[in-house]
């Protein structure tokens, strides 16, 4: 029976040794990421039958088992994927947040400086240094728009780069997972034992993959796993890695998007399918926030330029030039220049697709000033069997019509701030992306003619009024309000109105006159009288067929006597006239944007507040998600993590087991020696 005793002792020694080794492995890997602690699982050897029953034959290590729970691991993966997405989104939007609101780098100070200088010109219209200062601050303002626009454009660039980088890393993970699938299959098939450390490596790779993109797995019977992303697109199938690819978006060539490899080509993956992980965060940020902020900033720049230019056109410069000047005239009606809306034809459009372009609508006057109707959304124009459809991408509102002209008609009553034109009819399947203001902030500049000669700033008004010096009544004439298209309204100056028995006569023949906005009265002859009401607004309208409608309005109040005259003359030599500069200065506080609901500053404040709110919201969600992640990790670590104190205890346990087995062996040996002594004796 001696061999039995020895055998049992040796089995104990052997098991204790394996236990010690496993413990050492755990201690050594205490800080290895993704490592799950392992345990040597002992089982007793089956006994042999003796007369006294089954006699135990010692122990054996059945397997080395890793302490791992698939559900806990998946919980960590899910939490990790969300946390990474929020982290990456929040890191990006924080840049915008800081950029826009910076007290010195944001738009507000530049806007304020510019309008301060406009007021200075209004106060001192003939003072050249004031005019020069207005040009300089205008350049400062455009430089600020450009700099903000450029930084946003750089974010697009860097997102393109990061998408590429992420896809490369995802593909590398996919290949490693496929490789591990292969090795695990071989290892487990040949031994029938779990390949613990390989499994840990693979689980760790899946966890890392989830930091980049949300990935789900399913196991196969051979121990390999399949990995899916999006709504079930395969990334890894068994030992085969399929991977993702980057491709240029068909609708917007400046955008890199994620694609799936299919056959020989790459198929664009809808951005909404890419969620979770840093890549999901980037793509969502670009779609939800960056696009909006860029368009909003551009809208601000375009609205400023368009309204300012529209008001500028109603002025007169220091040289006495205005729209009334006979050609050739050096009058510069535009202060700023901006690029027209960008229209991108889809790369996959049918060959017969026409060229489509868009143009901003000239600002509409209200209360003497101007506003635009531009929004912050992009639009898609597409052709189908019944005609064309314009879709606003922010809310999918649609305008459908037979052709582009019909769409323009619809937009006239539901203004979006731009009109469309096409070189032909759109075939079914043709699609165009319209970005009205996306890149506009980067493209705004100051009219170089004004930079070269600040005297060209139209600070004065083009027409002045006076009451006749021989008047005997108390009638007074107002300075007059200049409206768009005024050259047609006032016709050939001077106009010399004569009061006669309750009527004003001598209006230019062919013009139309409206009192307080009432029906227009056509002036057929100079003797045609217009009833006089003290204080009523007399609106001169151009001839009936003038487009756009033109106007010049004035008021005469008091009691004129018969024969009293009132003159409208060209405002020549008016170097001290700052009326138009005052009107330009008023644009700062008037509601010039979003269909006269917001001023430049208010619209900008809204933009800052929106991105601030979004950043705040993301910070809060991100913190909550981080807490979830910590909890999930704690649950997993509670099961799989190495506790060194526990391992220390295990060391002692296995050491003692080893010592005990050795003692049993010693006793067995001494028993044998006793028998030998008897035999020798």
């Amino acid at each position: 029976m001696g061999s039995g005793i020895l055998g049992t002792g040796v089995s104990g020694l052997y098991a204790a040794q394996l236990g010690l080794q496993t413990t050492e492995h755990n201690i050594a890997n205490a800080n290895t990421p993704g490592f799950s602690r392992q345990r040597a699982i002992q089982g007793s050897n089956p006994g042999v039958v003796t007369g006294a029953g089954f006699l135990g034959q010692g122990t054996q290590v059945v397997t080395i088992e890793r302490q791992y729970n698939r559900f806990l691991a998946e919980q960590v993966d899910r939490a990790q994927s969300s946390a990474s997405e929020l982290d990456s989104y929040s890191a990006q939007i924080k840049q915008i947040d800081n950029l826009l609101a910076d007290a010195s780098a944001g738009l507000s100070p530049a806007l304020q400086d510019f309008f301060d200088s406009v007021q200075q010109v209004a106060a001192n219209p003939s003072h050249l240094p004031s005019r020069q200062a207005m040009i300089s601050t205008a350049q400062g303002l455009t430089a600020r728009y450009q700099s903000l626009g450029t930084q946003l454009a750089q974010m697009y660039e860097s997102i393109n780069g990061e998408i590429k980088q992420s896809v490369t890393t995802i593909n590398s993970y996919a290949e490693q997972i496929a490789g591990l699938n292969d090795r695990i299959g071989i290892a487990q098939a040949s031994t029938g034992q779990p390949a613990n450390d390989l499994l840990d490596s693979r689980d760790h790779l899946v966890a890392e993959l989830n930091k980049l993109i949300k990935a789900r797995t399913s196991s196969n019977s051979d121990g390999s796993i399949n990995v899916f992303v999006g709504s079930g697109q395969q990334l890894v199938v068994g030992s085969q890695s399929i991977g993702l690819a980057t491709t240029v978006s068909a609708s917007d060539p400046s955008r890199l998007v994620v694609g799936l490899k299919s056959g020989a080509g790459v198929q664009e993956m809808p951005e909404t399918l890419i969620n979770g992980g840093a890549l999901g965060g980037l793509v969502t940020f670009r779609r939800e926030s960056l696009d909006r902020v860029s368009s909003d900033l551009g809208r601000n720049a375009v609205s400023l330029a368009l309204t300012f230019n529209a008001q500028s056109a109603l002025g007169q410069d220091l040289l006495g030039q205005s729209l009334l000047s006979p050609p050739p005239s050096g009058f510069s009606p535009a202060m700023f220049s901006v690029t027209e809306p960008v229209v991108l034809a889809n790369a996959k459009n049918p060959a017969s697709s026409p060229t489509v372009s868009a143009a901003f609508v000239t600002p509409i006057p209200f209360g003497g000033n101007f506003y635009t109707d531009l929004g912050v959304s992009d639009y898609r124009l597409s052709g189908d069997a019944s005609g064309v459809v314009l879709t606003r991408l922010s809310d999918n509102k649609q305008w459908a019509g037979g052709d582009v002209g019909a769409i323009n008609t619809l937009l006239a009553s539901d203004p979006q701030g731009f009109t469309l034109s096409a070189s032909g009819s759109l075939p079914a399947g043709a699609s165009y992306l319209i970005q009205p203001t996306r890149d506009a902030a980067r493209k705004i500049t100051v009219n170089p003619a004004l930079v070269a000669d600040p005297r060209l700033i139209p600070a004065g008004g083009p027409v002045r009024t006076s009451a006749g010096t021989g008047n005997s009544g108390s009638g007074q004439i107002s300075a007059g309000a200049v409206g768009p298209g005024f050259p047609a309204a006032v016709g050939a100056l001077p106009i010399n109105l004569v009061y006669d028995s309750g009527q004003l006569r001598n209006f230019p023949v062919g013009a139309r006159v409206s009192i307080d906005g009432g029906p227009a009265q056509l002036i057929g002859a100079a003797t045609d009288g217009v009833a006089y009401t003290s204080g009523a607004s007399i609106i001169l309208l151009g001839p009936a067929n003038t487009t756009p409608p033109s106007s010049f309005s004035l008021t005469i109040s008091g009691r004129p006597n018969n024969g009293d005259t009132f003159q409208l003359v060209r405002n020549s030599g008016a170097t001290a006239d700052g009326r138009n500069a005052l009107a330009l200065g008023e644009l700062q506080t008037l509601d010039t944007m979003s269909g006269k609901t917001a001023s430049f500053q208010e619209a900008y404040t809204q933009l800052v507040s929106e991105s601030g709110n979004k950043t705040r919201q993301l910070q809060v969600i991100s913190e909550a998600q981080q807490a979830l992640l910590v909890q999930a990790q704690a649950s997993r670590d509670a099961l799989s993590g190495v506790n060194l104190d526990e391992e220390a205890a295990n060391l002692i346990r296995y050491q003692q087991a080893y010592q005990a087995s050795a003692k049993a062996l010693q006793i067995g040996a001494s028993l044998f020696d006793t028998i030998l002594q008897i035999a020798a004796g």
Partner: protein
Amino acid sequence: MRISTSQLYSSGTAGIERKQDQLLKLQNQLSTGRRLLTPADDPVAAARTLGLTQAKEIEGQYARNQADATDRLRLVDSQLTALTDLLQSVRSRVVQAGNTVLSDSDRQAIASELAARFDEMLGIANSRSAEGEYLFSGYQGASQPFARSAALPPATTGLVGYSGDDGERLLQVGASRQLATNVTGSELFMDIRAGNGSFATAASGNGGLANQGTGLIEAGSVLDREKWVTALDGGFPWQGSSNRELQIRFSSVAGVSSYQLFDVSTPPPPAATVSPLAVSPVLPFTPGQAIPLITTSQPPAPPVSTDFGAQVVINGSPAAGDSFAVTPSVNKSVFQTMQEMIDLLRTPLSSSVARMAYSGQLQAHLGNVDQALVNVAEVQASVGTRLQTLENLSNNSAAFDIQYQQSLSDLVDLDYVKAISDFTREQVTLEAAQKSFATISGLSLFKYI
């Protein structure tokens, strides 16, 4: 619950990092003095801050414009005061010149003094601001507004004309408030109603000669403005639209001095002139009596009566055939009045008839000088009102500024007491976290085996 060693370390360090993050933020707040470091800290407050900052800056700009406007109006005001003084001295000279015992040479001396005053007034009219812009030229800041035109014979001096315009130099002094910072030359010097402001009276001769009697017409007055305006605005049927003038003609009816009103207006040229039309019955005259300007159409026209709501007084005894004119006021520049006075004073008086005419004309001129004084006073009152408005606005602006500053401070500025107390608290908890971490990480079973 089972704890893994790495959990112990990671949660320990995570805790410490969180505290450090808090401390860094507090430190940033303390060093900048701002509660809001990025808009995300408080998006609503950040948006309000931007709005308030703009409002404050705009108010600041208005305040600068107010100061600017005040400076300009004060300059105008000082010129107006100088002009008033000047006109006062002119007036006293004219009163002096009315003394009929003065010899021709005495009047010459007064004329010379008035000529000097005239040049002085031209200087005021052409005064410039510190920036070199003419004060009284409307929009035409760069061109001299008042200059003599070439003399038309037989006159030896040309008239002073106005080459500026009626432009108001406006400044934005409040959110919806634009204020003119100038007075135009036309308003101040040119558009002065002659006579009493509504109509002018004058002796208008006796059959090609000057009036032969001793009648002197006073400036007259409008008693009922509404009637006056209505009568002029189509109420009285003038027989022509040019030279609207009523004439009071004297005659002797049975030895009684009587007067009659005539409409002497004519159609505009080239139409032929028409003869004067009697518009009242012949009425007896008592020297010094008020003559009401009430007309009644004479036969054969149906009797229609028009009341001008005005009266004139004629003193002395007009001779039969003498006539006096009443014309609606037209504008007469103060320069023209001055020039006419100077010319009048330089004319020698040879007869009693000439003296009578001289007195009448001088009286009319005195009236015109008074009108000019009233006009300057009105303009000065308007400038004073504007200065008053500016002062009120300026007080408002100052109050607004303090209010905005207060609101901004509430939104943005750091409550130091709270921040320092927070900082100390975070410091204590960080130290506790560090100490406890050191203690826990030092606990290891390996120490004992």
